[in-house]
Symmetry: C2
Subunit: 156 residues, 2 copies
């Protein structure tokens, strides 16, 4: 079964290649960017200013799917679905970047961990009542020993 997606805008960021790009918004303090939403979708941005986070995008420069990978924050291979690594069967990315303000169809964002030029697929509002699970178990993350905060070339 196959489905078609279309870009609905583009993400601008300071990062032009994977090496050195923060691997999570938590490691992207000071990194600012923009989301430029295509004209037909601008009316759908109304009311978004009251929310703080979330972005869905197409990881257009991710490497092909690999079932097992060594994640950035571990030293051994893990099943791909147990990692946030970009080389997924469907390279859909999701980042809880910070929404700073809206200016028409342009969103100023911060804590950006996305490559410049990344195609935008969706914007979803982060609602803590439904989306925050502070005590959810985090598998191998709970014992991993690698404190890496930026990407290298392994997944691109």
């Amino acid at each position: 079964m196959e489905f078609g997606l279309r870009a609905i805008g583009i993400i601008r960021s300071p990062f032009i290649e994977a090496p050195g790009t923060p691997i999570q918004p938590a490691f992207a303090r000071g990194a600012e960017g923009q989301v430029i939403v295509d004209e037909p979708f601008a009316p759908a941005l109304d009311d978004l200013e009251g929310f703080e986070r979330v972005l869905v995008y197409w990881m257009d420069r991710a490497a092909a799917f690999k079932p097992r990978v060594v994640p950035y924050r571990d030293t051994r291979e893990r099943g791909l679905f147990a990692t946030p690594s970009p080389c997924r069967p469907n390279p859909i990315g999701m980042s809880a970047v910070r929404l700073v303000r809206r200016e028409g169809r342009v969103l100023q964002i911060a804590e950006v961990d996305v490559l410049d030029g990344t195609p935008l697929l969706d914007l979803k509002p982060y609602v803590p009542e439904f989306d925050a699970f502070p005590r959810s178990k985090a598998g191998w993350f709970e014992t991993c020993g690698v404190d890496r905060t930026v990407a290298d070339r392994r997944f691109h």
Copy 2:
């Protein structure tokens, strides 16, 4: 710009149509289901058992995109991107369902708010350190007056 997605499995749930289906995992206590992952992707499930949540899927029965909608938990129109409503330009759904256990390429899940037969696109591990923002502002959700917990026909 267009991209192609492929289903990598299927989601089984007790819900065969939108009316009566919980609108969030938080309202889906007692609703159990399965994720059946296609054979080629089974090795990528390793290490997932240690995590509790997350599922990405294609909302195959969502209505066409509408820029403004009355969300389930409000009485007035909001910009679509400020809501979790399914009639999005790219109907990518994301649910923090609970992972109960893995049996080969079948995952037993609970707190399921997804329609039976929904195509699976991705499995992502929920990592509280990166994904939980308990104090994130929630826009109109903070003042909305509707306590609806199940869907009706408006978005399908």
